[in-house]
Amino acid sequence: MAQLVSASSSAPANVAGESRARVSAGRLVLTTITAATFAFLYVPIFVLIIFSFNQAKSGATWTGFTTEWYAKMFANEDLIEAALNSLLVGTISTLVAVVLGTLLALAMERYSFKGKAFWDGLLYMPVIIPEIVAGVSLLLFFAFIGLERGFPTLLAAHVAFTTPFVYLTVRARLADFDRSVEEAAMDLGADEWHTFWRITLPLLMPGVVSGALLAFTLSMDDFIISNFVKGVGWNTLPVYVWPQLKRAVSPEINAASTMLLLFSIFIVVLSLVLQRRQSRI
């Protein structure tokens, strides 16, 4: 660790020979650890992608290249239906969560009121409460009030666990907000309503977009909560895929996993492009 610190101190001009040796040793250690970590993060993913093109029905012996599993996957109606369900739930819950979360962020950042500490705590809880507990609690709740589980309960749950993440993202953006721009607009005669739509919201947009992408990803990826609140015979993609991942019977699942991976990468690239574009404005 001592070497790490020397490696990180940025005064190369006056270092003596001995400490220069320590600097390069430190850098070597850092580089090695970083390379190993990235290998650890990526090797399993690449291996999975490679083996999704393997002919062998089971095991990891390479027997030849095939796209058979992808053809099978796209012909699997249940899987396609589950994927469409996921997109539907993800889209609707994101739209609702973005509105609710943004409104909450505005209220919590710009108003002072009684009981604010309570809401502060409540809106932070989903970060702290394990998903399994949230899932179980919703199962109990819906069973107790006699609500049959299905699309509506799934949607209600997804909005509930994504809203706080939108709220946290937008609120962070609001905290850095320069209010003098709004004051200027008001001085120039704009009313509060116009100021909000023409000034506040456009400036807030990068936060809203990040929040929306986060909410959408969380919704699309969620397995634990969805598994507890979805109805019988109505699956989202992760819920449909889970029993097959556990049994790992068919290489088709490797193909499906690869498609999910590509989808995630698409979302990351999209979010980076959007943020780039907005920071330029």
Partner: protein, 281 residues
């Protein structure tokens, strides 16, 4: 006039807070309270302490302790890996830093089920690692790497590492390196400079990363199931089992409540240490 304005401000606040606040109370807070109530009720909805009596069975105490131990160790190892990686990233030139950040972001946004499955696939008895080692001739029999507490830990580190690297990186990126030089110019050697200057100033990021790793680890279900199988049990699996196969809701609720208490204790320690700093997303 003034009262009307104040009134409208109250109305504004109501309009902003109500939709999201209502949703969070009904679909998040209320269900959690149901757990508390139902943990004291038996199947006939009569008062019972049976759930809690069972929790104190040495078998379950053991599972709780093992879960806490695995999660703590996961958090510490993740921290020890992430710090040098984040340090390396923060010292890269701008272009490379963006690429490295992108490389951490991809797993961060990638489906958790798929990533854990990819790791499990790699580590199976008939998986690529074993086949490779046998092919080289290092081993004769496949190593069994899965279904142990260590395998669960590897899975948890793998799954949650981006959640640790990103906040640690954020705090290191903001770190003013001249402070370290100043400390060393004033005669502090590398170690004290690290512990007295760098560590305290980057603590918020380290703490954020720790809580973002610890919470999913202690409530883990997917990782415990895929990497630990039936042999290395975590609380999350026991809780899920009570609502799936066993149908003992009283016991399941009691365990969920205790899990919430454990997480809350760790969160309070975290807020204490971080002086109320919020997790950076």
């Amino acid at each position: 006039m003034a009262t009307l304005l104040r009134k409208s401000r109250a109305l504004q606040l109501l309009g902003l807070m109500f939709p999201g606040g209502f949703w969070m109370v009904v679909f998040f807070l209320l269900p959690l309270l149901f757990i508390v109530v139902l943990s004291f009720l038996d199947n006939e909805r009569l008062f019972t302490l049976e759930g809690y009596q069972r929790v104190f069975d040495p078998l379950y105490i053991g599972i709780f302790l093992q879960s806490i131990w695995i999660s703590l160790l996961t958090t510490i190892i993740s921290l020890l890996i992430s710090f040098p990686v984040a340090l390396f990233m923060a010292r890269l030139p701008k272009g490379w830093r963006d690429i490295a950040l992108f490389a951490v972001m991809i797993p961060f946004w990638t489906n958790f089920l798929v990533r854990t499955y990819a790791l499990q696939f790699l580590m199976r008895n008939q998986g690529p690692i074993n086949l490779l080692l046998q092919w080289i001739g290092l081993i004769d029999e496949p190593l069994s790497m899965l279904n142990t507490p260590a395998a669960v830990m590897v899975g948890l580190i793998y799954g949650n590492l981006p959640f640790m690297i990103l906040p640690v990186y954020t705090s290191l990126e903001k770190f003013d390196w001249t402070l370290l030089e100043a400390a060393q110019d004033l005669g502090a050697s590398a170690w004290p400079a690290f512990f007295r200057v760098m560590l305290p100033l980057t603590a918020p990021g380290l703490l954020s990363g720790s809580i973002l790793t610890f919470v999913p680890a202690i409530g883990s279900y997917v990782t415990a199931e895929l990497m630990g199988g039936g042999k290395a049990t975590m609380i999350g699996r026991v809780i899920a089992g009570q609502f799936e196969q066993a149908q003992n809701w009283t016991f399941g609720s009691a365990m969920s409540l205790i899990l919430m208490v454990i997480v809350t204790i760790f969160a309070l320690i975290y807020f204490r240490l971080g002086r109320g700093e919020r997790v950076a997303l």
